[in-house]
């Protein structure tokens, strides 16, 4: 098109030049001028050429304008698509940040009398600014109004600690079937107003009776409190509202990590062999706050020297029918609930088979010293010697400990354990040990000066220090 236009313009210019040239020569120019205008027609003929140039210019201008408008249209559409996309992503992240703020503040919220959450009708809101009140007014008068808020619910408002929160508010409440809008069990529809079960708080925990039990949510009513051991579940609802009124909500369930139901100071699904009279295992609660457990329990045989095994009430329980789903427990304790051992002990080495090897490391500070609980996750087997710690040690493999070693809390291994205390001070564990290889066909070995004393209080403290973790997360369009 450009070539044609250029040729055309060139032709017009040539025509114009010829006309002007002839005019100078006194010759009359025949062409586009008016034939009835007499002598002045020469001038008009030149003007006629200008008219063609004008048309040409208009055509060119219209083409340029069309191209320009198209580009503007494309750019505007692109910008709109990009803006919508950015808004969606931004809102999703804002909702997640709201959940994270609520999760991280849960422990302090529960300890604060002004923000009660004991009853499912007691709600706490974290609001983005003092101007946001989800309980005031109505849906038409308040863009941040929470349509689910109604009497007899009570609400406490907390201000977000984020510098520029992207969410409008986060609602925290005890989870019930009615507020979660689904049935957790077959005790009746949550929609029924006569179903009182639908208003009972939901908990998350383990069955104390079921073998290979995984942690699950349950309505804490009927026989559940007796059979299950767990912690309350809190439901978070986040509202993100942008300047154009678009609302985006997210729901999340959070709870504390429940303590696996312990039956013995040291449980091993694998056979246990006690190699020394200096191995002392006690199921009596050192702190005196919990019930007495067995000293040792295994799905297989328990053999060796029982001289140091405490006798009351049941000393050892071999051939037990009970088993733990160690994989599920370890999975629950993975980061971010815990920290990888590489981060706690940066100098830790790994053998050719992937086993972590550590000597003289601190896995949390001991009570009486800095007293700092530390949950640690080990992705593989661990050989540990001359170390100490406090917290929860989750080993996704075999665990070998050589004394001296002192630990306060719960040790969980997805494999067999081998404790060799050697000479005094040996191995001293205050809390409990739970070990289970996948097939249970290995041998756990206890030897040297090894002591495991059940301590319910220390175990409870370590789990309480874990804080809250997310059970489930869903966008609610």
């Amino acid at each position: 098109m450009n070539t044609i236009m250029n040729n055309f313009v060139r032709a017009i210019h040539t025509l114009g030049r010829e006309a002007r040239s002839r005019e100078k020569d006194g010759a009359q120019v025949a062409g586009l001028g008016c034939p009835f205008s007499g002598d002045d027609s020469t001038t008009h003929m030149v003007d006629g050429s200008s008219g063609v140039a004008l048309i040409t210019a208009l055509i060119a201008l219209s083409v340029v304008t069309l191209i320009g408008l198209t580009l503007v249209f494309v750019s505007t559409t692109d910008a709109l698509i990009e803006r919508n996309n950015r808004a969606r992503v931004s809102q999703a992240y804002s909702a997640e940040s709201g959940c994270e703020e609520a999760r991280s503040r849960m422990s302090s919220i529960l300890n604060e009398p002004s923000t009660p959450l004991a009853s499912p009708s007691q709600w706490v809101y974290i609001v983005s600014s003092p101007a946001v009140n989800p309980t005031a007014g109505s849906r038409s008068s308040n863009p941040y109004f929470d349509a689910e808020y109604r009497t007899p619910c009570s609400a406490a408002l907390l201000l977000s600690r984020l510098t520029r929160p992207g969410f409008s508010w986060v609602r925290i409440q005890s989870k019930t079937e009615r507020w979660a809008h689904y049935n957790l069990d077959d005790s009746g529809s949550y929609l029924s107003h006569t179903n009182t079960n639908a208003d009972v708080p939901v908990f998350f925990g383990f069955s104390k009776l079921l073998s290979n039990s995984k942690a699950t949510q349950y309505v804490n009513s009927g026989t559940r409190p007796a059979v299950y051991a767990g912690t309350p579940v809190y439901q978070l609802t986040v509202l993100v509202r942008d300047g154009e009124g678009f609302r985006y909500t997210t729901l999340a369930d959070i709870s504390e990590v429940p303590i696996p139901p312990l039956r013995a100071a040291l449980y091993s699904r694998d056979a246990i062999w006690i190699g020394s009279a200096n191995v002392q295992i006690s199921g009596e609660d050192e702190g005196g706050t919990g019930s007495t457990l067995d000293a040792l329990e295994s799905q297989n045989a328990i053999t060796g020297d029982f001289a140091g095994i405490h006798e009351a009430p049941n000393s050892v329980r071999p051939a037990s029918s009970f088993a733990y789903d160690a994989e599920a427990i370890i999975k629950m304790l993975r980061p971010p609930v815990s920290r990888e051992i590489e981060k706690v002990a940066p100098g830790i080495s790994r053998g050719s088979d992937g086993t972590y090897v550590a000597n003289d490391i601190t896995l949390g500070e001991l009570p009486g010293e800095a007293d700092l609980s530390q949950a640690i996750y080990v992705e593989g087997s661990l050989n540990l010697s001359n170390s100490k710690g406090q917290g929860i040690l989750a080993v996704n493999g075999d665990l070998n400990i050589t004394g001296p070693f002192v630990y306060y809390g719960l040790i969980i291994a997805r494999g067999k354990v081998s404790f060799n205390g050697g000479t005094l001070p040996g191995i001293d564990i205050h809390g409990g040990v739970l070990a289970s290889s996948p097939d249970g066909n290995q041998n756990s070995i206890l030897s040297g000066n090894t002591r495991v004393s059940y301590h319910a209080g220390y175990i409870r403290e370590q789990f309480a220090a874990l804080g809250f973790f997310r059970l489930a997360y869903r966008d609610n369009f």
């Binding site: 034939p35 083409v63 494309v74 969606r88 069955s207 949510q217 993975r334 997310r470 059970l471 997360y473």
Partner: protein
């Protein structure tokens, strides 16, 4: 003067007609090109919109894979013969560079859907397909039906999977992050450049329940 007053000669008329023809030709040509530009722009917009829609669908559905987890329900209820078998999502079922299968309650209606995204075709443009539907309530079996074509103009589609350390992984149980890369092309060749216009975009999705 008399001669010029006599009217327009045939040559003059022809010249005028020729000029007008050229003018009209140029005008029509420019209109045609404008239409072509508009068409390719529409194509490009359609392609970009498809790209955004496909990525949004992919990312929002992958995000919900694994929801609800087993822990969402009472275990005894799940094991009861009377409970529906489409309540719990298994999460990722297959994770390859051009194929992803998963289960999740992607529309938050309390029933788990099975979703399969895959590419078909041997040469570009490929077709991006989505096969999905609710699991059978009674036995948890896969849904029946035909796949839905998300786009027939896919130039490149790749999925990458990352573990907690940010390293690529192919182990399903390790996957914590999914990266989706999608390149689409226009339906028609751009007449000015003689090539297809393309648009690419990548998005990283963290399935929140895996």
């Amino acid at each position: 003067m008399r001669h010029s007053d006599s009217g327009i000669s045939l040559i003059e008329l022809l010249l005028v007609l020729a000029i007008l023809t050229i003018l009209m030709g140029a005008l029509l040509r420019s209109m045609d090109e404008s239409q072509t530009i508009a068409t390719i722009s529409r194509d490009e917009n359609e392609m970009r919109q498809n790209l955004q829609d496909a990525l949004f669908l992919l990312s929002s559905e992958i995000k919900m894979s694994g929801f609800p987890p087993e822990s969402f329900y009472d275990r005894e209820y799940l094991q009861s013969p009377s409970s529906f078998k489409n309540l719990v999502a298994s999460g990722l079922l297959q994770a390859t560079p051009q194929d992803i299968r998963f289960q999740g309650d992607i529309n938050n209606d309390g029933e788990v859907e099975y979703v399969h995204y895959y590419l078909s075709g041997t040469v570009p443009p490929f077709t991006l397909n989505r096969f999905g539907g609710k699991l059978n309530r009674i036995d948890g079996s896969l849904p029946s039906g035909s796949p839905q074509k998300l786009s027939e103009f896919v130039q490149h589609f790749q999925l990458k999977y990352y573990n907690k350390n940010g390293a690529e992984t192919s182990a399903l149980q390790e996957v914590l992050l999914v990266e989706v890369h999608l390149t689409m092309r226009t339906r028609r060749v751009d007449p000015l450049t003689r090539v297809y216009r393309t648009a690419s975009q990548s998005v990283r999705v963290r399935p929140m329940n895996l």
